[in-house]
C-alpha cells in the first residue's frame, strides 16, 4: 500500500514539474505521430517540417519571455515588433540590397525601429497598469491596421514589391526576388538519412536540418538567457515577481518594464525577419494582426504562466505546438478527407490554452 502511495505522489510531482498543459498537448502530439506512422505518413517529412516551422516561429515566441518576466504579461502587442521587422524588410528591398546584405540591413533597421517603438510602447504600458493585456491586444491590432494604410500610401518605387497596376505594396512579397528566401535556412543545411550516406550536405531528402535558422534561434535564446542572468535582467525579474518589494530595494520598476518591452519588441522584429525568410514571402497588411496569439499559446504550452516564463519553456513549447500543428494536417487529411480539421484544432488549442492561463492569473478584487 505504502509503495502505491509513494508512486502516486511521485507521479503528481512529475506532472507538477512538467506542467499539465505541456503534458496534455505533448501526449496528444505523440498520439498523433503514432497515428500518422500507422497511416504510413513519412516521419522524416513530418520532422523536417516541424523543425522548419519551429525555427521560423521560435524567436517570435521568445519575445514573450522579457515581457512576461517584467510583469506586463504576455506581449499581446507583438504586432508592433512584427510591423517594425516588415518595414525594415521592405525598406531594405527598396534600397536595392540583395542576399546576405539584404538580411543584415533588414535586421539592423528592424532593431532600430523596434527600439524606438518598444520604448513608446513600454511608456504606454506604464500608464495603463492593471489592464496591460487588454490594452496591449488593441495596441497590436491598431498598429497593424495603421500599417495597412502605410503599406498602401508610402510611395515605394521598387518593382519587386508593387502591384502591377496602381499604388501600394503587394500583400505578399516574394523574397526570391532579393535572393532572400530561405537564406538562413539554407545556410549549412544538411540532411540526415538521405539517399547517399548518413549525412548529405545541402540535401533535400530525409530529415532536413535548417542549420542557419536553428543557430540564430539558439543564439537569441542564449542571449536572452544570459541577459536574465545579468544584473539588469535579474532586476527586471524581481520587479515582475513583487513590484513593491523591488521598489523598496531601490529598483526602478517603470524603467525596467520599458527595457523589457523594448527587448520583447526587438525580438518580435528580428523574429518576423527569420520567419519571412523561412517562409519565402513577407506577408503584409492583415497578416500580423493575429500573430501574437499563436506565439503566446506556444510559450504557455511550454509551461510558462502569465507571470513566469523561461527560455526552456520557449524551446519546448514551440516544438510541441508547431509539431502538433504540422502533424495534425496530414493525419486529419488522411482520416477525414476534405475537412480542414487542423485549422480548427489550432484555434481550439491556441485559444483554449490562453484561456487556461488567464484563469490562473491572480488578480481582481472580490
Amino acid at each position: 500500500m505504502v509503495e502505491v502511495k509513494d508512486k502516486s505522489k511521485s507521479f503528481k510531482e512529475i506532472i507538477n514539474k512538467i506542467g499539465l498543459p505541456t503534458m496534455i498537448i505533448g501526449t496528444f502530439w505523440i498520439a498523433l505521430l503514432i497515428m500518422g506512422g500507422a497511416l504510413g505518413i513519412s516521419m522524416s517529412t513530418l520532422m523536417s517540417d516541424t523543425l522548419k516551422r519551429a525555427g521560423m516561429n521560435g524567436i517570435l515566441v521568445l519575445a514573450m519571455v522579457p515581457s512576461i518576466q517584467s510583469g506586463t504579461g504576455p506581449n499581446f502587442a507583438l504586432p508592433i515588433g512584427i510591423v517594425c521587422g516588415l518595414f525594415a524588410i521592405v525598406l531594405s528591398i527598396e534600397f536595392g540590397f540583395m542576399g546576405a546584405s539584404w538580411l543584415f540591413v533588414s535586421i539592423a533597421l528592424a532593431i532600430v525601429f523596434a527600439t524606438i517603438l518598444g520604448y513608446l510602447y513600454g511608456k504606454l504600458l506604464n500608464a495603463v497598469k492593471g489592464s496591460e493585456m487588454t490594452i496591449a491586444t488593441y495596441t497590436g491590432f491598431s498598429i497593424s491596421a495603421f500599417m495597412c494604410l502605410a503599406w498602401l500610401m508610402i510611395p515605394f518605387t521598387s518593382t519587386k514589391m508593387g502591384w502591377f497596376m496602381g499604388n501600394g505594396l503587394r500583400e505578399t512579397i516574394q523574397l526570391d526576388a532579393v535572393e532572400g528566401a530561405q537564406i538562413l535556412s539554407n545556410f549549412w543545411r544538411f540532411a540526415i538519412g538521405g539517399e547517399n550516406g548518413l549525412i548529405t550536405v545541402g540535401g533535400t531528402k530525409g530529415l532536413i536540418i535548417p542549420t542557419g535558422m536553428i543557430l540564430i534561434f539558439l543564439l537569441c535564446c542564449a542571449l536572452v538567457w544570459l541577459y536574465f542572468r545579468s544584473k539588469s535582467g535579474i532586476a527586471i525579474s524581481a520587479g515582475g515577481i513583487n513590484p513593491r518589494f523591488a521598489q523598496a530595494s531601490g529598483i526602478e520598476i517603470n524603467r525596467n518594464r520599458v527595457k523589457a518591452n523594448i527587448l520583447s519588441t526587438v525580438l518580435g522584429a528580428v523574429g518576423i525577419i527569420v520567419y519571412s525568410q523561412g517562409y519565402g514571402y513577407a506577408q503584409l497588411y492583415n497578416a500580423p494582426l493575429m500573430m501574437a496569439f499563436p506565439a503566446v499559446a506556444a510559450v504557455l504550452i511550454g509551461g510558462a504562466t502569465a507571470s513566469r516564463a523561461k527560455v526552456s519553456h520557449v524551446i519546448i513549447g514551440t516544438i510541441i505546438f508547431q509539431g502538433l500543428l504540422t502533424t495534425a494536417l496530414p493525419v486529419a487529411n488522411q482520416l477525414f478527407e476534405g475537412t480542414d480539421l487542423s485549422e480548427i484544432l489550432r484555434m481550439v488549442i491556441q485559444n483554449g490554452i490562453i484561456l487556461y492561463a488567464l484563469t490562473q492569473v491572480k488578480g481582481g478584487d472580490k
Binding site: 487588454t134 488593441y138 496569439f293 481550439v348 490562453i354
Partner: protein, 433 residues
C-alpha cells in the same frame, strides 16, 4: 448615468473637462462632418437610407452590452458566443425548412436555451478570470469560433449524417455551405420575416420618435422641477433636447407635407424598432428591480456586495447569460435583414464592432447606458458609411477607406480603454498623495 456614485460625481466635477470625457465621440462627429465636406458622391438620401438600415440591424446587439458593464464585467466581447447561438438556431430552423413567421418565432425560442447555456459557461469562465474579463471575453470568442467551425464543418456530415442534396449542405455531404440563403418569408424562409410585417416611411418614424422623446423630456421637466438632483446643467440639456426635437419634428412634418426628396429614404421596419425600444425599456426597468440593484452593487465593489450578502458569482453569471441571450436575438434580427447567413463570417466581427460603437457613444468600461448605445450606433455607422467615400475623394482609392475603417475600429477601442485606465490610475495616485 444613474450608476455613478455620489463620490464619483463630486470628483468628476473637479478635475475632468468635458472635452476629455467625450474625446472619442467628438472625433467621430468631426470625422463624419469632414466626410460630408470632402465627398460629393454622398447624397443625404443615400446616407440616411444606409444609416437607418444599419442602425436597425445593429442597435439591438449594441444594447445587449449594457448589462455586463453595469455588473462590472466590462465590455463583453463574448457576445460573439451569443451570436453563434443565434446562428445555430437559424441553421436548425433553416435545415428543417420551418420558415415563415412562426418559424421566426421558433428561431427566437430555440436560441434562448442555447444562448443561455453558452452564457452560463462564459459567465463561469469570467468568474475564474476575475480582473481579466475583457481579454478573456475576446479570447473566448476565438475559442468558441473553433468549436463552432468544428460543429458546422465536421460534426454536420461526419457524425450527424445529412443528405448531400440539401441546399444548405456542401456538395460532398460534409459541412454547411459558406453562404446559406435564408429564402424569402413568402416562400417559407426567414428572410425579412420581421422587417416585412410592417414598414413605415422614414420621415414618419422620425416624427414619431422625436415626438416621443419630446414628450419624455417635458414629463421629466415637469416632474423633477424642484428636486435638488436636477441641477441647472441638466435643466439646460433637457431644454436643448426639447428644442432639437421640435426642430426635427418641424423638418419631418415639412418633408411629409411637401413630399420632398427625404420621403424617398428607404422605409423602416416597425417591428425591429419596437424590439429596440423594448430592450431600452427593459434595460432601464431591470435596474430598478432587486436584480438590477445587485448588478450595480457588484459593479461598484465586489467585496462590499459580497459582504452585504449578494451572491456575487451568481449575479455575474446572470448578467452574462442575459447579455448572451440578447446578443443571440440581436444576431437573428441582423441576419433576417441580411437575407443570407454568412456561416463562418457573420459573427466574427460582431463583438468588436458593437463594443466600438458603444465606446464611440461615450461609454467606458464602468459606465454605459442607453444614450451611449444609441448615439454610438448612429455615429459609428456614419463613420462606416463615410470612410470609403473619403478614401475615394481624397486619395482616389476606396480600399484606403476600408483599411482606415478597420483602423478606426481598433483605434477607438484601444484609445477609449487606454484613456479610461490611464485616468483611473491617475486619480488613484492623486488620492493616495
Amino acid at each position: 448615468m444613474n450608476n455613478i456614485s455620489t463620490g464619483e460625481r463630486l470628483s468628476n466635477k473637479k478635475d475632468t473637462s468635458w472635452i476629455a470625457d467625450n474625446i472619442v465621440t467628438l472625433i467621430f462627429v468631426a470625422f463624419t462632418l469632414f466626410g460630408f465636406l470632402v465627398s460629393d458622391g454622398v447624397t443625404v438620401n443615400y446616407f440616411l437610407t444606409e444609416l437607418s438600415s444599419r442602425f436597425f440591424r445593429n442597435a439591438f446587439l449594441v444594447l445587449s452590452l449594457i448589462i455586463p458593464v453595469v455588473a462590472g464585467l466590462g465590455l463583453n466581447f463574448g457576445i460573439v458566443v451569443g451570436a453563434m447561438a443565434g446562428q445555430v438556431a437559424i441553421a436548425i430552423v433553416r435545415y428543417f425548412e420551418l420558415g415563415g413567421y412562426s418559424g421566426m418565432a421558433l428561431t427566437f425560442l430555440l436560441a434562448l436555451p442555447i444562448a443561455a447555456l453558452f452564457g452560463y459557461f462564459t459567465g463561469a469562465l469570467y468568474n475564474k478570470t476575475r480582473g481579466q474579463e475583457m481579454i478573456a471575453s475576446l479570447i473566448v470568442g476565438f475559442f468558441a469560433n473553433g468549436i463552432y467551425q468544428f460543429l458546422f464543418l465536421f460534426v454536420v456530415g461526419v457524425i450527424i449524417k445529412v443528405p448531400d442534396t440539401h441546399p444548405m449542405i456542401k456538395p460532398d455531404g460534409v459541412g454547411i455551405r459558406t453562404t446559406v440563403d435564408l429564402v424569402k418569408v413568402e416562400e417559407g424562409g426567414l428572410k425579412y420575416a420581421l422587417d416585412s410585417i410592417m414598414e413605415i416611411p422614414f420621415m414618419w418614424a422620425v416624427l414619431v420618435v422625436a415626438a416621443a422623446i419630446l414628450a419624455l423630456q417635458i414629463i421629466r421637466l415637469a416632474r423633477k422641477k424642484n428636486t435638488a438632483v436636477f441641477t441647472k446643467n441638466k435643466k439646460m440639456m433637457t431644454i436643448l433636447n426639447s428644442v432639437i426635437c421640435l426642430v426635427i419634428i418641424a423638418i419631418s412634418i415639412f418633408a411629409i407635407a411637401t413630399d420632398s426628396g427625404l420621403m424617398k429614404v428607404r422605409k423602416v421596419p416597425v417591428v425591429i424598432g419596437i424590439f429596440i425600444i423594448g430592450l431600452c425599456v427593459f434595460n432601464e426597468l431591470i435596474l430598478r428591480t432587486k436584480l438590477g440593484q445587485d448588478f450595480r452593487s457588484v459593479g461598484q465593489s465586489q467585496h462590499i456586495a459580497q459582504v452585504s450578502g449578494i451572491n456575487v458569482d451568481r449575479t455575474r453569471i446572470i448578467a452574462t447569460i442575459m447579455s448572451t441571450v440578447l446578443a443571440a436575438w440581436g444576431q437573428i434580427m441582423y441576419l433576417q435583414n441580411m437575407g443570407t447567413l454568412n456561416t463562418y463570417g457573420a459573427h466574427t466581427q460582431i463583438g468588436m464592432f458593437s463594443v466600438a460603437a458603444l465606446l464611440v457613444g461615450g461609454a467606458s468600461t464602468q459606465k454605459a447606458n442607453i444614450r451611449h448605445a444609441i448615439l454610438g450606433t448612429l455615429l459609428f455607422n456614419s463613420m462606416f458609411i463615410m470612410s470609403p467615400e473619403i478614401g475615394l475623394s481624397l486619395f482616389g482609392n476606396a480600399l484606403l477607406g476600408e483599411y482606415f475603417r478597420t483602423f478606426m475600429v481598433y483605434g477607438v477601442i484601444g484609445l477609449a480603454l487606454g484613456l479610461h485606465v490611464w485616468r483611473t490610475n491617475k486619480k488613484a495616485k492623486e488620492s493616495l498623495e
